[in-house]
Amino acid sequence: MAADFLTRRRFLTTSAGLAGAAAMGLPARAQGGLTVGFIYVGPRDDYGYNQAHAQGAAAVKAMEGVTVIEEENVAETQDVQQTMESMINFDGASLLFPTSFGYFDPHILEVAPKYPDVRFKHCGGLWTPGMPENVGSYFGYIGMGQYLNGIVAGHMTSSKKIGFVAAKPIPQVLLNINSFLLGARAVDPEITCQVIFTGEWSMAVKEAEATNALADAGADVITCHVDGPKVVIETAAARGAYVCGYHADQSALAPELYLTGAEWNWATVYTDMVAKTLAGEPIPNFVRGGLAEGFIKMSPLGPAVTDAARAQFEAVQAEIMAGDYAVINGPLADNSGNVIAADGVSYLETDVELESMDYLVDGVIGSTS
């Protein structure tokens, strides 16, 4: 937090502002080749969101003719605009991956028009026609991973109550919560899912408190959507609950109680986009993929998983791989009784409507505000 003041790039941008026009003429461009910038909201090795992206960046580093620059702990504020501009002006980056959700609007949308030759690829944003052409968004259908988590959780819970530690009620998080419950309900429709929002992407003490509160409320399988799941996984395991991972493989943190996990596989996406840029080919502005496309993957099933759970997990995974799988199937209501999907209506994993989700389905105990 406070140490943001000390980062090299912040210092550079500030001094650049002071030096004014004199510095503008002499940007230190990289020597030939393509420079790719990765921006993370937290540390690169957080067992979570940022680590998943950093593993993708590591795959890009191994490519011929590419220089990778990275900056960690960049806040979703004016800071990220300065980081992007300094990566462009000082390091000569022409392809940027600002990876945190809050970087998109307004920060990328403000900076991008100033640099039409630079490609801005954002993780999780919803690019729509009319936005700058050099901006694009990519994301994976990780809700499917949480659905598979839910199926295993549904088999393993004995209290019929599962728990979810969530950061903020944004569409992606809500989709994950809903998918987790619907996966469990595919096993047993009596199961409920308690959600606790911490309000922050990374707030260790609050995440631990939330996990304890879920365990106190009787949840015996717990998963999460926060930036670094380490605290949630360790706390839940200390309470004797089963855990499902998220973002990256956390099985090392709770070898006996870890069931499975929904992981990102960004190496596929990043190497593909960088290869296209090197070849001078266009990248679509709107890129999405799931299990079948290799955007996401599941952690290997843990030792506690029963045969019945394994069988259903594998069957559903095969169906998802085959494509056109729908998690949201009517008739379905949200948890305050409003109809979301009428009888016969289904939303496929690829449906863009799911990316503006603002409800929790029936069976989730929690509220979006």
Partner: protein, 307 residues
């Protein structure tokens, strides 16, 4: 994992939260009580806390002993305190400014040296099960008390006794209330203040070790949510008394557990509001305990904020 205890979960979670969350507040504010009683303010304790969390975790991981980690954190905190104390003893140096500088230095150094320790898993500090008498897992979990919490509680009593009844306490109070009187008694105020600040730093380091070695029990760059700063404010709130600091820390811990606990029993609307509970509570208590005549009763007179 069984037994639905309904709304009882809320007070239980608050008791549990008070015990789990309060320890860092407790150690930092006890240390700062001693520092401020000597007439200095060390705002750098947030940095000391974060550095202590990192140093404690790193040493615990490298040596395999959580207590070695606590020792390392205390030592690191002691050094930070010494630096603050020594720098502030130079002429015309402002303790608040040095504190802010050390806060940034501490967090910066902790992030720098802490990089390789985010991934590994270090051993945890032991806890004592005071909930053995109950069959409810919730009660047992709430009453899993860490040794450091008990140490902190005992320390609060010991420090209160020390300030009131011993020669060391008298020396501290004289230095804190009047440098001139202290000099007349043959006491060197600068030396007392350096020691008091070093002591405060060591306690803040231990508070950090609690964060990384027990609850939440891992090192990462977001481990502190400002506990070090809040604890400094708690000292004013506690009117520079160690016993009050203990209760203030408990109150803050309990209020912090309110948000998650309410959501877990189904009170789900407006959780952002509940998360503000500790701060709203502080305002209310400060307003209720204020008085027209002596707003800063108990404040050491040599403190730069009261001079």
């Amino acid at each position: 994992m069984n037994g639905d205890i309904g709304l009882w979960a809320v007070p239980l979670a608050m008791i549990g939260g008070a015990i789990r969350v309060s320890t860092p507040f407790l150690f930092v504010s006890l240390g700062e009580v001693i520092t401020e009683r000597s007439g200095r303010i060390n705002l750098g304790l947030e940095g000391t806390l974060v550095f202590g969390a990192m140093a404690g975790y790193a040493l615990a991981y490298l040596t395999g002993s959580a207590w070695a980690g606590v020792g390392a954190a205390a030592l690191a905190g002691l050094l930070f305190g010494l630096v603050h104390g020594l720098l502030c003893s130079l002429p015309k140096v402002n303790d608040i400014a040095i504190g802010i500088a050390l806060m940034l230095l501490g967090t910066g150094l902790a992030f720098f040296f802490g990089k390789p320790f985010i991934q590994p898993v270090a051993p945890d500090l032991p806890a004592i099960n005071l909930g053995w008498w109950s069959d409810l897992p919730q009660v047992q979990a709430a009453l899993r008390v860490n040794v450091l919490f008990l140490v902190g509680a005992a320390l609060a009593v010991a420090l209160a006794w020390m300030l009131r009844k011993t020669r060391i306490g008298l020396t501290l109070r004289v230095v804190g209330d009047s440098s001139d009187a202290a000099r007349a008694l043959g006491i060197r105020p600068a030396r007392v203040r350096i020691l008091a600040t070093a002591f405060g730093g060591a306690l803040a380091g231990i508070g950090g070790a609690y964060l990384s070695l027990f609850y939440p029990g891992s090192w990462n760059e977001g481990i502190s949510s400002g506990q070090g700063l809040i604890a400094v404010a708690l000292v004013i709130f506690a009117r520079w008394s160690p016993i009050n600091a203990f209760f203030a820390a408990l109150l803050f811990g309990a209020a912090g557990a309110l948000g998650p606990a309410l959501q877990s029993v189904g009170v789900t609307q407006g959780y952002y509001l509940f998360y503000a509970a500790p701060f709203v509570l502080t305002l209310i208590v400060l307003v209720l305990s204020s008085s027209k005549s002596g707003a800063l009763t108990g404040a050491p007179r040599e403190l730069s904020i009261t001079k």
